[in-house]
């Protein structure tokens, strides 16, 4: 039984079946991108254990095909197991060993990246300074104590805690937050509009003037969800008299402000922030076009990087194909605000970014050795025949 299993796991047949399944999956996933968009298709087909039917929202679902993680995982096991079992050193096998070692590096690197890489953005208008980047795909509720004029004290609550509903408590806060309503995606309407159909879900602050319409999740590439949450604030100390229900939403420009226990507080629902021990200031954003056309020639951001811990204060130019790598993070020129008024930098933290570079060199060397070995042997025999 075990022997059979080992035979299966190390078999070349399994390799070929997995490779073929990978091809089918990639083909189907690529076609699906037309309707689902790249991000969604990627989640369903490639970054999953199974491809499900029907996708979601029904009472049942069944796996119809192995997903990218499953196929990749089996291939990796198959690759390692086959080599562990059959490995014996011989110079003529050098190419094959190198090739497969490189592939292991690449697959493992891919897995690491999926698990540990963090992508975020830094949006900077001309002259702006920021010491954080944001990920607009996830929200957080920031409860900010602004009483002290010198600094703000921020308590951030991830969106998952809000989605779960119920009561949110935190040691820093003298009150607890009860989630009354949660909308993943919503549209806001002013209630003083003549034909307003929606009622307020909050009774305090500017949010009380706003009706919230729940809408389905956004699927387009350029669209994103506008999350709205209604929170009731209840003090921890008796008398625990409610401070009312407040609306926080990605669609509201200003924070909700209230006072409690002689302190001033702000509530904001905003994209998740990643704070950094250094700051970035946008000095100048340039957008060059080819003469007489609208074809972009180059985008560049001139920034000042200030890191008090490491006494760094220098100007850096970030432009196409020339990112800034600093303290484990990489800043790329990703886009620009309307009318070139500001720059958008993509900030990536990927501890295994070196893996593909290494893998490429190792595999290429392996293939060269392997095929070169064939070719030399072939031409040698060929010569022997001709002579």
């Amino acid at each position: 039984m075990l022997r059979k299993f080992i035979d299966l796991v190390t078999s070349l047949r399994l390799t070929i079946v997995c490779l073929a399944a990978a091809m089918a999956l990639i083909f189907a996933g690529t076609i699906a991108q037309v309707h689902l968009g790249i991000h969604e298709a990627q989640q369903r087909y490639f970054q999953s254990l199974f491809v499900w039917w029907p996708p979601e929202g029904r009472g049942f679902r069944i796996p119809i095909f192995p997903g990218g993680h499953l196929i990749g995982g089996i291939l990796l096991i198959n690759l390692i197991a086959a080599h562990a079992k059959r490995f014996h050193w011989a110079w003529r096998k050098l190419g094959i060993h190198l090739t497969h070692a490189g592939l292991i590096i690449m697959l493992a690197g891919g897995l690491f990246t999926d698990l540990f890489a963090v992508e975020s953005h830094m949006r900077l208008a001309q002259g702006d300074t920021k010491d954080y980047s944001e990920d607009a795909r996830f929200m957080e509720l920031a409860v900010i104590d602004t009483t002290n004029p010198d600094y703000d004290e921020v308590t951030a609550i991830p969106e998952a805690n809000l989605r779960r509903g119920g009561t949110v408590e935190h040691g820093n806060l003298p009150f607890r937050l009860v989630v009354r309503h949660f909308f993943q995606n919503s549209r806001l309407h002013m209630l003083d509009e003549p034909d307003a159909k929606f009622t307020a879900i909050a009774n305090q602050g500017p949010g009380a003037q706003v009706g919230v319409e729940p809408v389905p999740r956004a699927t387009g590439v350029d669209e994103r969800d506008i999350m709205s949450v209604a929170l009731e604030i209840i003090p921890n100390q008796p008398p625990a008299k409610s401070l009312g229900t407040w609306l926080v939403s990605d669609g509201l420009g200003a924070p909700q402000i209230f006072s409690y226990a002689d302190r001033t507080w702000q509530l904001v629902l905003r994209p998740v922030r990643y704070y950094k021990p250094y700051s970035v200031t946008l000095q100048k954003f340039t957008h060059e076009r080819y003469v007489g056309t609208e074809i972009p020639k180059n985008f560049a951001s001139r920034i000042t990087l200030i890191d008090p811990e490491r006494t760094v204060n220098r100007d850096v130019l970030i432009y196409m194909n020339h990112p800034l790598r600093y303290r484990g993070e990489t800043f790329f020129q990703a886009g620009f605000e309307k009318d070139d008024s500001g720059s958008i930098l993509q900030v990536v933290h990927n501890p295994s970014f070196i893996a593909p570079y290494l893998a490429c060199i190792v595999v290429a060397a392996g293939l060269l050795v392997q095929f070169g070995y064939h070719l030399v042997g072939f031409s040698r025999r060929r010569r022997a025949v001709t002579v």
Partner: protein, 636 residues
């Protein structure tokens, strides 16, 4: 004869090629547009000769680089452009606008007949309708447009382009532009002063200002319409349209010599004054050569490149070589084979010249867009085929070279329909290192995959339909295919990973599941499957051929298919028209695969040998296989 035949073929081909280098003769009563065609202008961000502008514009509007007039006379693109800019009233009657869509014709109340080319004069009553319909379909994504919507939008764009060309070197209604410029120049100081005075709130001469206003309005119109930027600034980096320069003259008080020169050329052209025309064009050419040396040289070279038209010549020669190589399998092998080989060497030289010329003109590595990828795939496949031919000397490599060379150039020819094939590159592509490594490696991988597929096609067609596929030939085909698949694996893999590294450098992610990336990885996976299936002994000779045929399907999907999906960062250019061709090609490969899977009795080549099937363990001749894994040389 056996000895001299190959040389004779080579000589004839070289003579034919040499003919295209000679400038065409100009009839006595006609103007010579050669020098005019060499003048540099800036269009689409690139400095190019007027001749290129003429050819590309005509290609967009007319679908061809020459126009046949109603009286049966054929005129060149440059002739057409000269008429459009200098004699628009005449050019309005040229049947250049191609309309093949019945619904578009129906829009004008016309029935579909034999004609597909229409003149501006015929279309002018419907301009408003065309504009409206075109604007409607422009709002849609290209993928969503119906055939009618695409056709009407194309027509709209062609008309706009034509209209812009008419106003590029002078206002379209100018009869004597030199005189008009003189009037403008004499009015300038006073008119400019009046304008300044009015701006400052001082007293000004109203009649002077009014006469200036008439000119300004006129030149603002042509400045906004101009398609060409014909006047370089003093530093040479910035170019301006003639309209802009004339408006600037309000400030400087002077009219730029280039504007004057183009006006005089136009007047001489209209008067058909050959001497004055040549003189003025030479003067302007001299002015450019002095102040703009490099662009002028480049433009002049591009003019030559346009006339020599290397790729069209290559197409013809590739077909010839293919036929010679196929003929060598039927008889008179050596001379035909040799002739094919020599001819291919010559053709490859021309092909290389064409490719290097493009690299010089663009200052880029060879592959920058889909068009150049086709040129490069053909080039790479021809080289590898010729190496195979040199080793095996059985005509197979030569036949592959001829077939792939021809097919890829035909594909390139059809990809050129959208205009300039030397277009400028989007910001993220503006890096020669990655274009030279990633893109070249990927396209070399495509070339090798197609070559392996071509070898398999030869195997199947010769094996099934003829009795010429002897055991030795079949074995060498197998070895070639296997070797080429190895080659393809190396380049596809390296190219794909380099693409990932490029993406990591510019977007911060190594792999983004973009359709083009997926296409590339499909090829790598398929190569890996072929190699592992072969090493594991799951496939033998025919299995390898069937898989190589499917490689054609995978590669064509990766090269073209993913672009048709219209998603992702690599979707440069949606090609609705190519879709049926792509599907047709894929189906043909599937048919060949089915044929290859037929039992051996149905193969004409193997039928006879079935009586004594070669058994395992028989002495085999040389093998080209992985160490330690025996591979059968028998066809099953």
């Amino acid at each position: 004869m056996r000895r001299s035949f190959p040389w004779l073929v080579l000589l004839l081909a070289a003579g034919w090629l040499a003919g295209s280098w000679r400038p065409p003769t100009v009839e006595k009563n006609e103007l010579d547009l050669t020098a005019l065609g060499k003048l540099p202008v800036l269009v689409g961000g690139r400095i190019k000769p007027l001749d290129t502008v003429a050819r590309n514009s005509l290609l967009i509007i007319h679908g061809k680089q020459t126009v046949r007039l109603a009286n049966g006379k054929e005129i060149s693109a440059m002739q057409w452009l000269a008429d459009v800019v200098y004699r628009p009233a005449l050019a309005d009657d040229y049947p250049v606008f191609v309309i093949q869509n019945a619904e578009v014709l129906g829009l004008f109340g016309w029935e579909q007949g034999d004609r597909k080319y229409f003149s501006f004069a015929e279309l002018s009553p419907f301009l408003k309708q065309i504009e409206e319909q075109g604007a409607q379909s422009e709002k849609l994504e290209s993928v969503q447009r119906s055939a009618y919507q695409s056709a009407v939008l194309n027509l709209r764009n062609s008309l706009v382009l034509c209209q812009r060309l008419k106003n590029s070197l002078q206002p379209e209604d100018a009869q004597n532009f030199t005189k008009e410029l003189e009037a403008y120049a004499s009015m300038l100081p006073a008119g400019a002063q009046a304008a300044r005075q009015r701006e400052m709130g001082e007293n000004f001469d109203k009649t002077k200002l009014d006469s200036a206003a008439g000119f300004v309005q006129r030149y603002e119109t042509i400045a906004s319409a101009a398609y060409l930027l014909a006047v370089p600034s003093a530093q040479g980096a910035d170019w301006h349209s003639i309209g802009e320069i004339l408006l600037q003259a309000m400030r400087t008080g002077e009219i730029h010599p280039v504007v004057k020169a183009y006006a005089q050329i136009g007047d001489a052209y209209r008067a058909e004054d050959r001497r004055s025309f040549d003189q003025q064009v030479d003067l302007l050419g001299g002015w450019f050569a002095k102040g703009q040396t490099t662009p002028t040289q480049r433009a002049s070279f591009e003019f030559l490149f346009n006339r020599v038209d290397p790729f069209t010549h290559c197409m013809v020669l590739y077909v010839l070589a293919f036929l010679l190589a196929c003929g060598s399998w039927l008889g008179w092998s050596r001379p035909l084979n040799r002739a094919a080989f020599y001819l291919l060497l010559l053709t490859l030289a021309v092909h290389t010249f064409g490719m290097i010329s493009r690299m010089y003109l663009q200052e880029r590595p060879p592959v920058t867009n889909l068009y150049s990828s086709a040129i490069f795939i053909g080039w790479g496949a021809v080289i590898v085929s010729l190496v195979l031919e040199r080793i095996f000397r059985d005509g197979i490599g030569a036949a592959c070279a001829g077939a792939i060379g021809f097919i890829t150039l035909i594909i390139a020819h059809h990809l050129a329909g959208s205009g300039d094939t030397l277009e400028m590159l989007q910001a993220v592509l503006d890096t020669n290192i990655w274009l030279a490594t990633h893109v070249v490696a990927i396209t070399t991988g495509y070339a090798a995959m197609f070559l392996a597929g071509m070898l398999a096609i030869i195997y199947v067609v010769r094996g099934v339909f003829t009795s010429s596929l002897k055991k030795q030939t079949a074995d060498s085909l197998t070895r070639m295919t296997y070797g080429v698949v190895c080659f393809a694996t190396l380049f596809s893999f390296v190219g794909t990973v380099l693409g990932g590294i490029w993406a990591d450098q510019s977007w911060g992610r190594f792999w983004g599941w973009d359709p083009k990336e997926n296409g590339a990885v499909l090829i790598v996976l398929w190569c890996a499957i072929i190699l592992h299936a072969r090493w594991g002994g799951f496939i033998k000779q025919r299995g390898l051929m069937i898989m190589a045929l499917f490689g054609n399907v995978v590669t064509s999907f990766s090269w073209f298919g993913v672009n048709m999906l219209g998603v992702g960062l690599h979707s440069y250019g949606f090609m609705q028209k190519a879709f049926p061709w792509l599907v047709g090609f894929m189906v043909s490969q599937l048919v060949l695969m089915t044929m290859a899977a037929m039992p051996l009795e149905r193969w004409r080549s193997f039928r006879s040998s079935l009586g004594t099937p070669p058994r395992k363990g028989q002495p085999r001749d040389l093998k080209f296989v992985s160490p330690g894994l025996a591979v059968e040389a028998t066809p099953d």
